[in-house]
Symmetry: C2
Subunit: 459 residues, 2 copies
Amino acid sequence: MTLDTTFLTESLGDGQVTTGQDALEEHATDWGTATGTEPEAVVYPTTTEEVATVLEAANERGIPVTPYAAGTGLEGNAVPAEGGISMDLTRMNEVLDVRPEDFQIDLQPGVMGPTIEETAGEHGLFFPPLPSSGDISTIGGMIANAASGMQTVKYGEVADWVLELEVVLADGSVITAGSKAVKTSSGYNLRDLLIGSEGTLGVVTRATLELAGRPEQIKGGRALFPDLDHAAAAVTDAIQSGVDVAKIELIDEESAMMSNAYTGADLPDSPMVFLEFHANHGIDEEIEFCRSILETHDLIEFEIADEERMGDLWQARKDLAFAVRSYDPDRQPLHPGDITVPISKYGDLVKEIKDLGEQYDLLTPCFGHAGDGNIHYTVLVDTDDEEQLRRGEQLYSEVVDRAIEVGGTATGEHGIGQGKRKYLLDEHGSETVAAMRSIKDALDPNGILNPGKIFPETE
Amino acid sequence: MTLDTTFLTESLGDGQVTTGQDALEEHATDWGTATGTEPEAVVYPTTTEEVATVLEAANERGIPVTPYAAGTGLEGNAVPAEGGISMDLTRMNEVLDVRPEDFQIDLQPGVMGPTIEETAGEHGLFFPPLPSSGDISTIGGMIANAASGMQTVKYGEVADWVLELEVVLADGSVITAGSKAVKTSSGYNLRDLLIGSEGTLGVVTRATLELAGRPEQIKGGRALFPDLDHAAAAVTDAIQSGVDVAKIELIDEESAMMSNAYTGADLPDSPMVFLEFHANHGIDEEIEFCRSILETHDLIEFEIADEERMGDLWQARKDLAFAVRSYDPDRQPLHPGDITVPISKYGDLVKEIKDLGEQYDLLTPCFGHAGDGNIHYTVLVDTDDEEQLRRGEQLYSEVVDRAIEVGGTATGEHGIGQGKRKYLLDEHGSETVAAMRSIKDALDPNGILNPGKIFPETE
């Protein structure tokens, strides 16, 4: 059955509704490996009113609406599971207001990371929790998926820097969640409920973010270790000792090898930790404090890099997601791993992943936001080889199970989407998932907003 | 009609259910001025299971349950509005676990601030967002009311330091919200929805908090200004310049006068700002940076105090809430003001309060967490004088209206309770309040949990 788009073309302008095959295909993919369906139509609203009009009409008709933006999700979060309408928010890409005197910026959801950084930078400010994918992703996507980034270890997550949201609910009503005051205890905190709800409860149409002043001193460096156990232990010890790091990223040997192959970089053949420090005073003392801790873990070398060299290192780190997927055309990433565990369990989990990789004879490059206990592990498999695929799935799941067992989460910053639905019950238990479901049913009784996401097939 | 408590005495132990008049009266009061009703029974659960048993039974019978702990709320948040059962959680006061290697502590809801500080301190850690009332309030109350404190300007609110909650819902089901991982994007963020919901959505039975390492350097001081305009402008400028303060509190002349009368302190007859700085390195440079900014606002004196002297100053600051209410037996606080505004509006709001005080001929002592834009203003009135009461109410409301008008909130950290229900619609709008209501109805369909709070009488 084809969707009759008359109700859409009647209320939106020329070029804001399409059923063209290219657009449908584009909106059926993301960066991950989860499979979804093509939408039946794509709409491109430019105002809050247009978002509300589309949702109200779709709600009356019971037609699914899946919000979409840059398509950089990793779990099929923005790929329709049940056809319907893909709501592409990339044309809502205006900076609405900047109030440097309050460290605040108001954005439409389609604004991308570089615009945030550029606009903030004009006032000596920056947006600390920008994800590694910030160059190619939108603020709406970051909010919908509760994103975080390399600087979360010092500054917190995207959610911690969102003050107020304008959100259109399934029935087209427009709400304001949060406050432009830096704190409020007035009524229910709908803002943080909506953040990370992956477009299943509403569509963000405006976000007020808090910004920070740029630190006076920034220095970075790279530490090499003889093996991964020592590198992971060094990270854990640094965090437990309270070293004030702004970034602390672990990169294992397989990841380094793939990075070299991808970019022609010359990362050494050792596990390594990239670090960055931000301070207004005393940065060298903090770096020396950090060095003294790293040295107790068989540190091979701790290079403090100048700004240009550091830029190259961080670019190599950012490119890892590309490097891993480009490494071998015959071995594709199974799912992008995103477990996060309490820091004392971090070393154990890294070791477990590598041991399982050996046991199952599969490549498992690991990198990620070590200071948060967040590990991006990737299982590379020949997807035409059923048996290898099975082993890969087994490995992947064993790691998630282990992370949940030690009090961690299946996904630190990528969301559940379609790919991780099967872990939701294990992580939260049936009574907690039932509470989530009752909220979904209350705010979206017809189930039109991004159906087939987050919740398991059988709750 | 008297409540038949058989269903309670059957499932709880000896001494865990009372209908004694002393207990009923105790649970009908808090620290504020809002009026409520006496409960018909008070229960004292000691385990999660007992909380669940009571809620399940009350839910089946449609009997209101209002969670209660230290009774330090200011808006009648924990005082029954419709009788029923007062659930006193003060006997659930165990520290369940401390994991210093993860900076984590697990607490029952009745644990009070000093126990948190003492337990954390044994491991060189502390709980940064502890409210000024932390000495006399419970972690359950802090969580239920989205509390914050003097150090929120640097470290954030209580909510920012809560990792995971065990919560009993109205039907007795037990959920776990959040994660022991420092970040998660797995499913809906029920944790932050429950924080600040004032016991209307569930009862917290266990909280896992994050702790922080103690800073190596702590110094404090006091700055005096010729008038309140200059003091407020100095605070605003310091925040806008990005001074790294751990506390920055404004105290007006009326508050200082009342403090002197209450404690026999000798605070000077000028508006003043109390400050504290935390750092691992370079604290003196930061203090000098701060001084350079304060000096541009006609600074009279900036005294850096030693630890003992600083302790006295902070005690005076903490005692302000007592001092204001004890100042004059014939003039009682009308409601404790708690507006919070974007920092650029802070000076205007302080000035507006004092101008209105003059216009209405009423004392309006102001103090509070200036760096957050949070003003605790108190309107003192002779409550026997109808006309004065009317003027006081008028003044109080005009200030809230103005705060909302400039993008702020009616309540930064005290919650809505009964006292601020009339402002909810103005602050959030009817569609946002309807969304809050639909969540309340979904999680507590019989409306047994703390009815008569947060939502306005007519939505």
